[in-house]
Symmetry: none
Subunit: 405 residues, 2 copies
């Protein structure tokens, strides 16, 4: 059994509450064992973080972890995505396309929102769970994969089974081991740690001064239900930090902002029309800041989707240019304002990575970039080929697949 402190540190799981302690214990127990895991918990409780931790501390951690959000894949293509299909080649002439199960061979696949999977697909999931066998769409041949499955849901699967929306056999199969994540209300004592963590991360990466939260403000936050759990808390912390512009966060601020939060926050805030009944300049400015902040979150999502530059900025030609608004101090992500010499490392990584981490990632991704060509990778990174081979061995970062010319 390995060190719980190390687990918590390396996995990024925050908290000292009993509930989270049980989760950590469960992770230490199930990680080394090649068994299916079902992670349950309300939306926003960190199911993916847990899945990642399990993979990280499993025997498969040098293999791939493939994360699939079953709820976000349209029904029409989900089987193709999961199991692959017989199609024209993408990377080579004549090769069929692999699905996620094939991609995750030897590794782990995380099926988030498993309760959203169509019934027809569930049959096939059960099969691959039990025997590792699957077939690509449009193909008769049975293929094999060796994948550890971690599934997650925020729904009551038993209820879905009763309703006929989920297969009982698959349900029993998945829930061999269940890790239940507590909601934020069930782990109130962890809120302090979350606040500090989110605040520091956000202020650090956005060049906002941070002066902390007043104790009574934190107390108020602990009394709130947080239907959106950790994710909602994160957004809330970030929001008030922006709105208060570097000042200490008081109970008044928290009270005001929490009472303005509606139970179901969607991508567009229906609170908007209610707030317009205020009439002061301050309220208007706050409203505008609030909305701009949410739009900023949307653009942040888009940035993430863009993967920091996989698409050149020129491909955005023709899009509306959003002008800075004079007189309104909106912090810009410092990634967009690159100081001289700070060019390679993400801002939010500073203070959060070992040199070894950097090295490993650099090697892995540069190898990818050069299609696993060792010579080119070594030259590009400024290390000897001999050393590269050793580090590939050390990090386990490249398959023994040959790549020539």
């Amino acid at each position: 059994m390995f060190d719980m402190d190390r687990l918590q540190k390396q996995s990024g799981i925050i908290g000292t509450s009993v509930g989270i302690h049980q989760v950590l214990e469960m992770i230490t127990q199930v990680s080394p064992v090649d068994i299916s895991v079902l992670v349950t918990g309300e939306s926003g409780t960190g199911k993916e973080v847990v899945a990642k931790a399990i993979h990280q501390f499993s025997k498969r951690n040098n293999e791939e972890l493939v994360v699939v959000n079953c709820g976000a894949i349209p029904e029409g293509i989900i089987e193709s995505e999961l199991f692959g299909h017989k199609k024209g080649s993408f990377t080579g002439a004549g090769e069929d396309r692999k699905g996620y199960f094939e991609q995750a061979n030897k590794g782990t696949i995380f099926l988030d929102e498993i309760g959203e999977t169509p019934l027809e697909t569930q049959v096939k999931l059960l099969r691959v769970l039990e025997s590792g066998e699957f077939m690509r769409v449009g193909e008769a041949k049975t293929r094999k994969t060796d994948v550890r499955v971690i599934a997650a849901t925020n729904k009551n699967l038993a209820e879905l089974v009763n309703n006929g929306d989920f297969r009982q056999d698959l349900y029993f199969r998945l829930k061999t081991v269940t890790v239940k994540l507590p909601s934020l209300r069930e782990r109130v004592e962890d809120i302090n740690a979350f606040i500090e963590r989110f605040a520091l991360e956000f202020t650090r990466s956005n060049d906002i001064r941070y002066r902390g939260f007043m104790p009574d403000a934190v107390r108020l936050m602990k009394q709130y239900e947080w239907p959106g759990n950790v994710r909602e808390l994160k957004h809330f912390v970030e929001k008030v930090l922006v709105l208060e512009k570097g000042e200490r966060i008081t109970a008044d601020v928290v009270k005001r902002e929490l009472t303005d939060v509606l139970p179901h926050q969607t991508s567009f805030n229906p609170a908007l029309p209610i707030l317009v009944s205020k009439s002061t300049d301050k309220a208007e400015i706050d409203l505008i800041l609030r909305q701009l902040f949410m739009l900023k979150q949307d653009t942040e999502l888009i940035q993430k989707l863009l993967v920091g530059g996989a698409v050149t900025p020129t491909t955005a030609t023709g899009l509306t240019k959003i002008e800075p608004i004079e007189g309104v101090q909106i912090p810009q992500k410092s990634m967009e304002i690159v100081e001289d010499g700070y060019r390679f490392i993400r801002d939010d990584a500073i203070g959060d990575m070992l040199i070894k981490d950097l090295e490993k990632e650099a090697i892995k991704r540069t190898l990818n970039f050069f299609n696993n060509n060792r010579r080119k990778t070594a030259r590009s990174l400024g290390m000897s080929e001999r050393t590269l081979y050793r580090k590939i061995e050390e990090f386990g970062v490249a398959p023994k697949i040959k790549s020539r010319r």
Copy 2:
């Protein structure tokens, strides 16, 4: 000839109007025949939907459909994107790579906004259309591909030819078969179906109650010109649903919102900064709301463009290296990104930095982060303090200014 109902159901083409009926007829006729198709119609009329339907019911439907928005690709890289390039032919071309025509071999390529293609590129398009032959950028070798081409434009190509902006030979080649999509004003009787469809989709996915549109409201909408066609109608439906907060949509609402529609809905109103500096009344508040709503739409447009604009998601899989255009296949790429280890280094740095560079930057910035505290920096980076001192000396990255505690 196959079932028209099945076609309409599976393709998602909405409408019962004569115009749309003719389109469906045309699709049934051209789909099974390996012939080039030109899809014309105003912006927002659903040209891509038609292209997808044609592919779906063609003999090539088990092969790839590659969707390319020619208008969104910068002139400088369009030939590289379409035909591929030889490594080293320009900055960033780390390896040889295939273009869309090669990728779509045996399948279909949809060239949206074909009228935006540069003249020099048109020559090469004509060649690949006629003989299937093309050359990668920076390479002399002729390659072959077998691709069905569907092109689309909202421009009058004949006029472009007269102006010398489009090649006549390419034009004649493309317009062998033309599918002309009617504007929304030409198919007013389809507006009911669109409204219901958009309303249900939007309210369902955003947890908004839906109480329908009053008949006189719909009547008003049928009298509007809809310069932005179906796309504009969709945005309008969504907007009023949000502003009316689940109440039934009345003719007053429609009248108010339609008369408030600005001529260029995609532009950002620079007046906004001015407005925030004044006291506001209801009308101005409404204006603010509308501007903000349009901003939201802009971000939605960005998302759509990136996910579905240049390359269709169906081509996305098996990403083994970071390539600029493949970055557009965002959903799958982001799944790869959440793999363990892809967290610290900026994407555009890969292939462009030495390990020493990373190390130097990491040390420098982590020192900054810890206010020049050597002990904390060394611990954070996972190196000995002794080594840190040496590297500080080696890199010359810190002043001899003391910093304690």
